[in-house]
C-alpha cells in the first residue's frame, strides 16, 4: 500500500453521475466513513454495521454508481483502481470516461486503507452476482481472495468472511464447486492461524456445504469433528452449521441428535430466511418420522410453507396410518420433489417405520390375530407372506415396539393387555423431558443475550473507584486522627 501514499484521490465524483443517483452514492460515502473510523479505531462493530448497510443498498446499485464510488475511494490511475474497475461491465464506457476526465483535477488526499480496497472488491462482486455475470464475478472473487491472503488485519475479518461467502456462491452458481475446495481449505487454515474466528466459522460452513453438495458426508463429518469449535460469532453462520450438522447426523442414523440440531436451526433462523427454514423443517419432519414420532399438524401449516411442505404432509399421513400402499403411492407421486430435496434415500428408510406403525395399530385393535391376516393388513407383497409376517412381528417384539407374544404353533399373534399408563413411570419421564427441554431453552436464551463490550466492566470499575477513594479518604482521616492522638 506504500505506493498509494503518493497517489491522489478525486475531489469529488463527477456531477453528472452524482446527480443521477445522489442518494445511493451518498449512502456509500457514509459507509466508507464508517469503515474508515472503524479501521482507525480498530472497532470491528462499525465494520459489521457497514456491511449491513451495504446489503440494504444492494438493490439500488448501478454500474455508474459503482464506478463513481471507486473513483471516490480509490485513487484513479492507481494499480488497485484499474484492476477493480476492469471487472465492471463496459456498457457505459462514456460515463466512465467522464469520470476519469473530471478527476484530472485532483487534490492530494490521504492514502486509501486496505479495508476500503477489500470493501470495493466486495461491492463490485455483489453487483456482478446481482447482474448474473457469474464468470466476471468468478474472476473478481478469485482476485480478491488472492489479495486477502496477503492482508492480516483484524478489521478486515468481517469483510473477508463476506467475500469468502460470495466467492463460494459464484462457483456454486457456475457449478464448479469442487474446484475451490483446496482454496477454501487453505483459507480455513490461514484463518485458524490468524485466530480469525468469524472467518473460520464462515469457511467451515462453506466447506461443509461444498462437501454436502457432492454428498461427501464422510469427509464432511471428518472435517467437522476435527475443526476447532468456539462460541459462535454470527447467528446466521451458526444456523447454517446446525443445519449441516443435522444433515450429516441424519445420514449417519443419529436421529435424536439430528432432530435437535435441525429444530434448533429452524428456530434460530431469521424470519426472512423462509427457504432455509423450509429446508430445515423438511429434514426435521423426516427425522422425526424416522424416530417414530408423528409431527403435529401445525408444523405443516406454518405461514408461507403449506405448499412446499405438502408432499411431506401426505407422507406423514401415510406413515401415521401405517398403510404401505398409500406410502408407496405418495413416494412415487412426489418422487421429483424428494429427489430434488435429496431426501429420497431417507424416504426409502421410512418404509420400515410404516410397517411398525401398522403393526402397532393392529396389536392395539386385536387381542389375537392370525399371521396371515397381519400380512394381509400390512399389505406385504411377497411370495411367502406368513413367514415374512412372522419374522417381522418377532423382530418388532424383540425391539420393544409392540407388547405381544407369538404363538408359532397356531400362527397367532397374541397382544398383551395394556395396563393403565398413569400407573407407570411414563408420565413422569414425559414431564422430565419437557422440563429439561424448557430449562435448556432458557439457558440458551440467556447465553445468547448480547451485551456491548466492556460497558459492564466500566460501570463496575467506576463504582469501585468511588469506593476506593472513599476508603482512602477514611484511611487518611484515620491516620490524621492517630497523628493528632500522638501529640
Amino acid at each position: 500500500m506504500t505506493q498509494d501514499v503518493a497517489m491522489k484521490e478525486p475531489q469529488a465524483p463527477s456531477n453528472s453521475v452524482s446527480s443521477s443517483s445522489p442518494s445511493t452514492l451518498h449512502h456509500l460515502k457514509e459507509i466508507v466513513s464508517l469503515i474508515e473510523t472503524g479501521a482507525y479505531a480498530r472497532e470491528v462493530r462499525r465494520i459489521v454495521r457497514a456491511v449491513r448497510l451495504t446489503m440494504a443498498l444492494r438493490r439500488k446499485l448501478k454500474s455508474s454508481v459503482i464506478s463513481a464510488f471507486l473513483n471516490f475511494t480509490l485513487s484513479p490511475g492507481s494499480e488497485v483502481h484499474t484492476r477493480i474497475s476492469s471487472y465492471l461491465p463496459k456498457d457505459d464506457e462514456h460515463e466512465m470516461d467522464v469520470d476519469t476526465a473530471t478527476s484530472a483535477t485532483q487534490a492530494p488526499v490521504k492514502h486509501s486503507l486496505p479495508e476500503l480496497e477489500i470493501y470495493s472488491y466486495l461491492l463490485v462482486l455483489i453487483f456482478l452476482i446481482d447482474q448474473k455475470k457469474y464468470n466476471e464475478a468468478k474472476v473478481c472473487a478469485s482476485a480478491s481472495i488472492a489479495r486477502l491472503k496477503n492482508l492480516n488485519r483484524r478489521t478486515i475479518d468481517v469483510l473477508a468472511s463476506r467475500l469468502y461467502f460470495y466467492y463460494s456462491l459464484t462457483y456454486e452458481l457456475t457449478g464448479e464447486l469442487a474446484e475451490i475446495r483446496g482454496t477454501l481449505l487453505a483459507l480455513h487454515r490461514i484463518a485458524t492461524l490468524r485466530h480469525d474466528e468469524l472467518g473460520q466459522e464462515t469457511l467451515l460452513n462453506l466447506l461443509l456445504r461444498n462437501y454436502l453438495h457432492y454428498n461427501l458426508y464422510d469427509q464432511a463429518e471428518k472435517l467437522r469433528s476435527k475443526a476447532p469449535r468456539f462460541e459462535a460469532h454470527s447467528n446466521q453462520q451458526f444456523c447454517r452449521y446446525l443445519f449441516y450438522l443435522g444433515k450429516i447426523r441424519t445420514i449417519q442414523l443419529e436421529y435424536t441428535d439430528a432432530k435437535e440440531s435441525l429444530l434448533q436451526a429452524a428456530r434460530k433462523a431469521p424470519i426472512a430466511a423462509l427457504g432455509f427454514r423450509v429446508q430445515c423443517i423438511k429434514w426435521a419432519i423426516i427425522v422425526r418420522l424416522l424416530l417414530g414420532e408423528i409431527p403435529e399438524r401445525t408444523v405443516f401449516m406454518q405461514k408461507g410453507m403449506e405448499k412446499a411442505l405438502r408432499p411431506y404432509f401426505e407422507l406423514t399421513n401415510a406413515v401415521r396410518i401405517g398403510d404401505l400402499e398409500l406410502f408407496r403411492s405418495v413416494a412415487d407421486k412426489f418422487s421429483n420433489t424428494f429427489n430434488s430435496d435429496r431426501t429420497h434415500n431417507l424416504i426409502v428408510r421410512l418404509r420400515h417405520n410404516v410397517i411398525r406403525t401398522g403393526l402397532r395399530n393392529i396389536s392395539i385393535s386385536y387381542s389375537r390375530i392370525s399371521l396371515a391376516d397381519v400380512a394381509k393388513k400390512l399389505r406385504l407383497d411377497s411370495p411367502n407372506p406368513v413367514a415374512d409376517a412372522e419374522s417381522i412381528v418377532s423382530k418388532a417384539i424383540r425391539d420393544g415396539a409392540i407388547d405381544a407374544t407369538l404363538d408359532h404353533k397356531n400362527g397367532w399373534m397374541v397382544s398383551k393387555e395394556t395396563g393403565d399408563i398413569y400407573s407407570t413411570n411414563e408420565p413422569q419421564t414425559a414431564f422430565d423431558t419437557r422440563i429439561a427441554f424448557c430449562l435448556n431453552l432458557h439457558n440458551e436464551a440467556v447465553r445468547a443475550l448480547r451485551f456491548p463490550p466492556n460497558s459492564h466492566k466500566e460501570k463496575e470499575s467506576a463504582e469501585k473507584r468511588r469506593e476506593r477513594q472513599q476508603q482512602e479518604q477514611e484511611l487518611a482521616k484515620h491516620i490524621a486522627e492517630e497523628d493528632d492522638d500522638d501529640f
Binding site: 454428498n215 461427501l216 458426508y217 464422510d218 445420514i251 449417519q252 442414523l253 443419529e254 429427489n339 429420497h344 434415500n345 426409502v348 428408510r349 418404509r351 420400515h352 410397517i355 411377497s382 411367502n384 413367514a387 415374512d388 419374522s391 417381522i392 418377532s394 423382530k395 418388532a396
Partner: protein, 188 residues
C-alpha cells in the same frame, strides 16, 4: 513404452494367470510387489499429474486394485478388503472424468455395501449409499445390497436367507454366508 509400465503389465499378467489358477499365495506375493511399483507412477492419486501415459497408468492401477479387492474376498480377509477398497475408491470418484468407467465398478461397490452390512456398520452403509447416483441404484448388484438392508431392518430374515440364492455375482457368496450366520445368531 515406459519400462516401468511394461514391468507392471508383465507382473500383472503373471498375477492374473495365478489368479485364474487359484494360486492365492502367489497372488498375494505378486500383489505386494505390484503395489510397491505403483507408488512410482506420478499420475496416480493423490498426485494426479498429467503424464503422457496417465490414462494407461490409471486404468492398469484400477484394474490391479479391483483384482486385489476380489482376491481379498477369495482369501476371506476383511481387513485387506477394506484397505484395498479405499485405495480403489479414488479411481471411481476422483478419476471419473479421466478414464472410461470400469465394468467392475458396480459389483465392487455392491460388495463393499454388503461388507458394511455384515460388519453391522449401518451408518457407513448409508453414507456410501448417498454417494451413488440413481442409475447406480438401479444396478442389480447395488439393488441387491440395498434390498437386503431393508429386509434386515424390517426383520424379514427369511428374505435375507433366501437372497443367497439370487446373488448377482459369485464373490457375493462369501459375505452372504457370513450374513446368514449373523441372522441365525440373531434369530435364536
Amino acid at each position: 513404452m515406459d519400462p516401468k509400465l511394461t514391468e507392471v503389465s508383465q507382473l500383472f499378467e503373471r498375477f492374473k494367470a495365478a489368479f485364474v489358477r487359484k494360486d492365492f499365495d502367489t497372488c498375494t506375493n505378486l500383489l505386494s510387489q505390484l503395489k510397491v511399483l505403483l507408488t512410482g507412477f506420478r499420475s496416480l492419486p493423490p498426485l494426479f499429474e498429467d503424464t503422457p501415459n496417465a490414462v494407461h497408468e490409471l486404468t492398469i492401477a484400477r484394474d490391479i486394485y479391483e483384482h486385489a479387492v476380489v482376491l481379498s474376498v477369495k482369501i476371506e480377509d476383511q481387513d485387506a478388503f477394506e484397505r484395498d477398497f479405499f485405495q480403489l475408491k479414488p479411481y471411481y470418484t476422483d478419476a471419473r472424468n479421466r478414464i472410461p468407467p470400469s465394468p467392475q465398478e458396480y459389483p465392487i461397490l455392491g460388495l463393499n455395501l454388503l461388507r458394511l452390512l455384515v460388519q453391522n456398520r449401518i451408518a457407513e452403509f448409508h453414507t456410501e449409499l448417498e454417494l451413488l447416483s440413481s442409475t447406480a441404484l438401479e444396478n442389480p448388484c447395488i439393488k441387491h445390497a440395498v434390498e437386503l438392508e431393508q429386509s434386515f431392518m424390517e426383520g424379514a430374515y427369511n428374505r435375507v436367507l433366501s437372497a443367497r440364492q439370487t446373488v448377482p455375482h459369485e464373490t457375493y457368496v462369501y459375505f452372504m454366508d457370513l450374513l446368514a450366520k449373523t441372522v441365525r445368531y440373531g434369530y435364536s
